[in-house]
């Protein structure tokens, strides 16, 4: 059956900000869906609050609403656009939940909007634990024994039957948020309580533990004619007990016989049919008892997911794109396989390689958080790799994570290369407790004489995988038997390369330079080959140039004689480097393709739009390391390489690439370094007559103390060369400074620490500008809402600046222009300023794409990454018609989103170290309303209607806090305060109820009020930090209760303004296209 003609316009709900469990995979799937539906002639209306997405580019959908993903806001969009249908299965759990809300509030019915793909009852049947269990039992599939509870009392009865350990799964939370494996009664009580709180329906499932069983996933698609196919099977190396998002996984499944696999496939189809997903993709998880093959079904997601993005990249089969086509009436056999272009999509990909996915964690950002992996997802990103064998793919994946590993061991700081290897006890501890480094401890264990039986007992990992690790260790042994690389026979070197050993690993082993290894290897004629990802194991010819490297006989790379440009992506998502950079890389590919170049994308992150084979002319799914990039470069000989769009990942390679003869496009690596080199940079500022906070660079603690005395406390310290404020800290005294220098960061002559005088009460300003070498265009000036000291990535900010006077803005603009020319920027540049008493200071210059590029582009209506890419390839700004960016008439407020709810007990105070995973944007003609929208989008529950506010500020803020108190009182809020703040308020004539601090040991204290739901908003500027302080506990509890917690006075003031404006006028929604419509 062809496409449905009874619908003409379709609403798609995106997944909102990047959070743990929901990352840029939904930008990939959503963008694909928008494209696919528009290709079919439908009008696509999109709601997504995340500006850092390709999906929210005005070209992607017909009508783009960067508005909160709440049913109330979406209702306004529906009222305005009157879509015929809603496709809810492409925006992750957020999109699905919003669709259910819309249904339950009668919005869909009221406006006659049809649901496509999956109906509400289907979604509920899949997501509601009990309904799902009942449905599976009906078709003869076993689920783990489990009981749904909605009260703690019931839960305490249930645990008697189910036994411990058991698993807690809150209903309707994404990525298993709030769940976990519990081993004792105390933990059980704690996790159930939290789960009930987090579940939007106050319901958790208490489930029998199948710890240690093998875990599998199937990506299944179904069309309305009931044709079903499995796109990919995925096997978790980490057995049951670790969330699949945190597991190292492989595709296809490797340890199942055909009989077992087909039984699972039958079960998958039975499941999707019984649940009733009409069309589209679903992810179904199974566990298999390794002792007897007993199979149980764990769960099903009736929508595209992180795993479906992985499956798409692993097979070349674009699940989301086809899911969209199936939703509007096509059957699988009516859709062409994109890659072969001859065969239909109604088939199951066969792959002739192995895919490994490795998660990337950010525990270094949250030292208080428990790094044990369990049923709740904790990773912030992932890298995928492709190799012909598991060994090769695993090593490539491990070096793709950019966590300092070069593969399976033999990294620079490999303890097995030292005289001080980890002890047996340490190894055992790291094997028995699932954690992000366990894979490396597996090697330490094998090298330390653990048997595979012992390791299996400790980890539950299938012996097949352990044998693979053993193979790698055996090859390492064979290599170690040779004293130098020169002694290694060609056959052995080739075998090592075929097993994924990197030049860097060999360099570390033989203590030589990586480039020397490379030269030796090339001299021996040992070169990589490139093979195609083609969905069909070479049975048909592939039209799509999607490649991976491997060390085989035949290279399939088809190389044209067109001029080429290579773009280096940003690798796995992490805090500080996320979807924003992928956005920039995608824009570079689009711009350069339009300019007539053949574009080459290199990236290792399967969640991204950049690794969609449609984005560039040639896609290389490869680790972003010097070796892998140079190998591609050797083969394709591009005119130039873009390193400034992918964040730190490619920037770290820039110098070495240039040294190897690669032409770096745009700003030179020397200029990029110049901005990092404090001394040269200070000189530039002097020459330009620009101000900088007093600062210095220290190589040891003595130097650090000297500088601190010279510039005065508080001092902002940080290591050189970091992104996302890694290791950055505000210190107030000598003691903390010395502690900082001596521990935590690695300080040396090569890696000094930077110290800056901290400008108190300053306003921070970010500027993004484009320069073609001569002409500079300042694209956006962003005023931060939080005071200086909060990492710019964690701060709310606004375009245009709401408070800064024009002469200050002019000064900033001129300074940015001067800097761009002085640093010889070609491409993008980000400058951070601080304004203290109208004095403008330059804090930092980064001559590269910044995190704010997509936000600025959306706010001003100009795709600045594209403009910059063209400038880098030689088209001047005037030639592009870009000479001036007018200040927009509307306000765009960016707000960060934090993962605190994933790391229970972690203090949530903002500081110089970036902690947010994603961002949202509120846009409106009025600043107050744009700000309010940004809070709604970020999921901050501001009690607009009224309620009780807990106001407690540090002594220095008390005077200023009076204004906040007065305003809140005027707006009718009840106030509670601790003694100090209360006294100051009283003096100013503002009444507040007294509440005790925790340490006063008088109950009820503030924590009690919070737990009882008697506080609706917290305004607390911190005196102390850390999970153990009173304030830390309050803030952590606020996160758990979902009570908004504002930790800066400027944030509080902006929130009050927002409340005022919303109460006055409510809010309306407006499509991005209308903000920039020609008048």
């Amino acid at each position: 059956m062809p496409r449905r003609d009874d619908i003409h316009s379709i609403l798609i709900i995106g997944s909102g900000p990047i959070v743990i469990g929901q990352a840029c995979e939904f930008d990939y799937s959503g963008t694909q869906a928008c494209k696919a539906l528009r290709e079919e002639g439908y009008k696509v209306i999109l709601v997504n609050s995340n500006p850092a997405t390709i999906m929210t580019d005005p070209e992607t959908a017909d009508r783009t609403y960067i508005e909160p993903i709440t049913w109330q806001a979406i209702e306004k969009v529906i009222a305005q656009e009157r879509p015929d249908a809603l496709l809810p299965t492409l925006g992750g759990q957020t999109g699905l939940n919003a669709a259910i809300d819309l249904h339950e509030h009668g919005v869909l019915e009221k406006y006659g909007v049809t649901m496509l793909g999956a109906q509400v009852d289907v979604i509920k049947k899949a997501e509601d634990r009990q309904l799902f269990k009942d449905a599976m039992e009906k078709i003869g599939l076993n689920c783990p024994e489990s009981v749904v509870v909605s009260t703690l009392e019931h839960a305490m009865e249930v645990v008697e039957e189910i036994g411990l350990p058991c698993i807690i799964r809150p209903s309707f939370t994404m990525g298993g948020a709030g769940g976990g494996v519990v081993f004792n009664r105390e933990e059980y009580r704690e996790v159930v309580t939290r789960g009930l709180m987090l579940s939007p329906v106050t319901e958790v499932l208490v489930e029998q533990s199948v710890l240690g069983w093998k875990e599998y996933e199937l990506e299944v698609m179904r069309d309305h004619a009931d044709n079903c196919v499995v796109i990919c099977s995925i096997e978790n190396i980490d057995p049951m007990g670790v969330h699949t998002g945190d597991s190292i996984t492989v595709a296809p499944s490797l340890t199942l016989t055909d009989r077992e696999y087909q039984i699972m496939r039958d079960a998958g189809f039975a499941c999707i049919r019984e649940i009733g997903v009409e069309t589209g993709g679903s992810n179904i998880q199974f566990a298999i008892n390794p002792k007897n093959g007993e199979m149980i079904i764990i769960e099903m997601n009736p929508r595209v997911s992180r795993s479906s993005a992985l499956a798409s990249k692993a097979t070349g089969f674009p699940i989301a794109k086809f899911a969209a086509k199936l939703a509007v009436g096509y059957t699988l056999d009516e859709i062409d396989n994109d890659i072969t272009r001859k065969t239909p999509a109604s088939f199951e990909p066969s792959i002739d390689y192995c895919v490994v996915k490795v998660p990337r964690f950010a525990f270094e950002k949250f030292p208080d958080a428990d790094s044990t992996l369990g049923s709740q997802m904790k990773s912030v990103g992932e890298a995928m790799s492709i190799g012909r064998t598991f060994k090769e793919a695993l090593q490539k994946a491990l070096r793709s994570t950019e966590e300092g590993y070069a593969g399976f061991g033999l990294h620079r700081r490999d303890p097995m290369l030292t005289d001080n290897p980890p002890s047996r006890e340490e190894i055992e501890a790291h094997l028995g407790r699932p954690n992000g480094h366990r894979i490396h401890y597996l090697r330490y264990a094998l090298r330390s004489g653990f048997t595979t039986e012992e390791i299996h007992r400790l980890t539950g990992i299938d012996p097949w995988f352990l044998a693979q690790f053993e193979d790698l260790v055996a090859t390492e042994d064979t290599l170690r038997a040779h004293p130098a690389l020169a002694d290694v026979p060609d056959a052995l070197l080739r075998r090592a390369k075929r097993e994924g050993f990197a030049d860097a690993q060999l360099a570390n082993l033989y203590r030589m330079d990586e480039m020397a290894v490379r030269a030796d290897r090339i001299a021996r004629g040992i070169l990589p080959t490139y093979k195609l990802v083609d969905t069909c194991a070479a049975e048909f010819e592939a039209a799509t140039p999607y490649y991976y490297s491997t060390w085989e006989d035949e290279c399939e790379a088809r190389i044209s004689d067109r001029p080429k440009m290579m773009i280096l992506g940003s690798g796995p998502n992490r805090i500080g480097q996320g979807v924003e950079f992928d956005y920039c890389c995608v824009h570079a590919a689009f711009a350069l393709r339009d300019a007539g170049y053949e574009t080459i994308m290199v990236n290792s992150n399967p969640e991204t739009v950049s690794t969609d084979y449609d984005t560039s002319d040639l896609l290389f799914f490869e680790p972003l390391t010097l070796e892998d990039v140079l190998n591609i470069h050797d083969r394709l000989k591009p005119e130039g390489v873009i390193v400034q769009f992918g964040g730190q990942t490619p920037l770290k390679l820039a110098k070495a690439l240039e040294d190897a003869g690669v032409k770096i496009l745009g700003t030179s690596p020397d200029s990029i370094d110049l901005a990092e080199d404090r001394e040269s940079f200070a000189k530039i500022l002097d020459d330009l007559g620009l101000r900088q906070p007093p600062n210095g660079m220290a190589r040891n603690s003595t130097e650090a103390l000297e500088i601190a005395r010279r510039v005065g406390y508080p001092v902002l310290v940080r290591p050189s060369y970091v992104l996302g404020g890694r290791g950055m800290m505000l210190v107030y005294d000598d003691e903390s400074l010395v502690r900082y220098v001596r521990s935590g960061v690695e300080v040396s002559d090569d890696r000094p620490v930077l110290l800056d005088r901290f400008l108190e009460d300053a306003i921070e300003v970010d500027v993004d500008a484009i320069c073609d070498g001569e002409n500079v265009v300042v694209a956006g000036i962003m005023e931060h809402i939080e005071e200086a000291g909060v990492h710019s990535g964690d701060s709310q900010c606004s375009i245009p600046p709401p408070t800064l006077p024009k002469h200050v803005l002019d000064e900033i603009r001129v300074a940015a222009e001067k800097l761009a020319r002085a640093v010889e920027v070609i491409g993008l540049m980000n400058v951070q300023f601080a304004v203290q008493n109208e004095d403008v200071y330059v804090l930092e210059v980064n001559p590269r794409a910044s995190r704010t590029v997509p936000y600025v582009s959306k706010a001003i209506g100009l795709p600045i990454a594209k403009v910059a890419a063209l400038a880098m390839s030689g088209t001047s700004l005037p030639d592009q018609g870009v000479t001036h960016v007018p200040v927009p008439k509307h306000s765009s407020v960016k707000a960060p989103v934090f993962p605190f709810n994933r790391f229970t007990g972690v203090d949530v105070v903002l500081g110089p170290e970036m902690q947010s995973t994603g961002e949202v944007m509120g846009i409106d003609a009025d600043f107050g309303i744009a700000f309010a929208k940004s809070l709604m989008s970020a999921g901050t529950h501001v009690p607009f209607e009224g309620g009780t506010v807990f106001l407690s500020v540090k002594e220095e803020d008390r005077e200023a806090a009076n204004y906040i108190g007065e305003e809140l009182a005027r707006l009718g809020y009840g106030l509670v305060s601790t003694a100090g703040t209360r006294a100051t308020l009283a003096a100013a004539g503002v009444e507040a109820e007294l509440v005790h601090k925790i340490r006063e040991r008088v109950r009820p204290n503030v924590l009690d009020l919070l737990t009882d739901g008697k506080i609706d908003l917290i305004i607390n500027t911190p005196t102390g930090r850390g999970a153990r302080t009173d304030e830390g506990k309050i803030r952590a509890a606020a996160v758990e209760k979902g009570v908004a917690c504002i930790t800066t006075l400027s944030g509080a003031a902006a929130a009050i303004n927002a409340i005022d404006r919303i109460r006055e006028a409510g809010y309306t929604v407006k499509a991005l296209q209308d903000y920039f419509a020609p008048a």
Binding site: D258, Q262, G293, D333, T343, P344, R388, W464, A537, E556
Partner: protein
């Protein structure tokens, strides 16, 4: 622990040579080199008699992971001539496994080669068609091997059925199919039918599935006469006849074609799979031709034209039925391949004859086409009621 195999060569008639390490039995083996794109199921593939005369390359690179077990064989021995893979697993990891692949092939006298760029080999076969080749761990001279590859008989015109068929007739007593997750409800309801299976190299899972679907299965050798097929020693006349899969070129199997024609003329219900399907086409006056590199895998989409449903099928055939069979309207095309639109199934419009090219018994492969056993049975039920 990793074993080091002897150096091995794979030489093809086009002069190309692939190097690797031998596993399984030392020696040389010859045959037509084909590739199979199944991700799982090497044990079933190795033991499928239809691979007689062929060296099989697995496009899935990691083979041997779950070893060999006692339940998944499709015959009592391995039938492939040789086995070409990218990487052999060093261990067998599965609760059902009792032997590793290397030991099994060693015991079975099958020579394997690992370490081969199987994707390059597959692309060569895709472009040039199935190639005659030789795998050897004993002969090290590439030119000699290429010459020998060129003297291997072509698959066209080869009768390989005699080498794989059973010598004596027997009742199938090796049980029913247990691999499905959901037994088809009511499969055993109703009458038990007597069925004669002509064994051209029948896969056990066909026999198991027929048994599962309420057939009492008597298996006779390929050279059985029409009379033997249509009556056993005790004079029991079968309710229907089934023609199995098997190796080689169907066009040279004149005895089988004649027997099939006899069965059809007598109006005895007839069902055929794979080679059996091709023999039926010949018996109905059609012809077959050799496909360039055949269909071997578990992901082939086929449309059942009677329901317009797509099924993902297991396939293993090098020849196909020519479409001119359907010109006069007597014979109906029931199934076609969605990949290359070749004939996948047929039925007679008036007589009780049906057959499919693909493998509803799967093993290895998806179970989407199991309904065909049911459909065959339903027709018999309809005839008696």
């Amino acid at each position: 622990m990793r074993r080091t195999g002897p150096p091995a060569l794979l030489a093809l008639e086009d002069g190309s040579v692939f190097r690797g390490e031998g596993f399984g039995a030392d020696g040389s083996c010859e045959g037509e080199v084909v590739f199979n794109t199944s991700l799982t199921g090497y044990q079933e593939i190795l033991t499928d008699p239809s691979y007689k005369g062929q060296i099989v390359t697995m496009t899935a690179p990691l083979i041997g992971n779950y070893g060999i077990n006692s339940e998944d064989a499709e015959a009592e021995r391995a039938w492939v001539e040789g086995f070409v893979i990218r990487e052999l697993s060093t261990i067998a990891s599965n609760f059902r496994s009792h032997e590793d692949l290397h030991s099994y092939l060693l015991r079975s006298g099958v020579t394997g080669i690992e370490g081969v760029d199987t994707r390059a080999l597959t692309r060569r076969i895709r472009e040039q068609g199935a190639l005659r080749g030789i795998v050897s761990t004993v002969e090290r001279d590439a030119d000699t091997l290429v010459d020998r590859a060129r003297s291997i008989p072509h698959m066209e015109g080869r009768n390989l059925v005699n080498e794989v068929t059973r010598r004596r007739e027997a009742m199938w007593d090796q049980g029913v199919s247990t691999a499905q997750f959901l037994p088809e409800p009511g499969a055993f309801d109703g009458p038990i039918f007597d069925l004669t299976v002509i064994d051209f190299g029948a896969k056990w899972n066909i026999l198991r599935n027929l048994t599962s679907h309420g057939f009492r299965v008597r298996v006779v050798p390929a050279d059985a006469s029409l009379e033997t097929v249509l009556a056993d020693g005790a004079g029991i006349v079968p309710d229907a006849v089934f023609l199995s899969n098997g190796p080689g070129d169907p066009s040279v199997l004149t005895h089988a074609q004649n027997v099939a024609r006899g069965i059809i003329e007598k109006g005895v219900p007839l069902f055929g799979i794979c080679l059996g399907h091709q023999i039926i086409a010949h018996a109905l006056g059609g012809r077959t031709y050799k496909l360039p590199f055949g269909h071997h895998g578990g992901n082939h989409p086929v449309m059942d034209l009677t329901t317009n449903r797509v099924e993902i099928t297991a396939q293993n055939h090098g020849f196909a039925v020519h479409e001119d069979l359907f010109k006069d309207g007597q014979i109906e095309l029931t199934h076609k391949s969605l990949n290359d639109h070749t004939v996948e199934g047929l039925r007679h419009t008036k007589l009780p004859v049906m057959s499919v090219q693909h493998h509803p018994e799967a093993a290895p492969g998806p179970h989407d086409s199991l309904y065909l056993f049911r459909r065959f049975r339903d027709e018999l039920v309809a005839r008696i009621s």
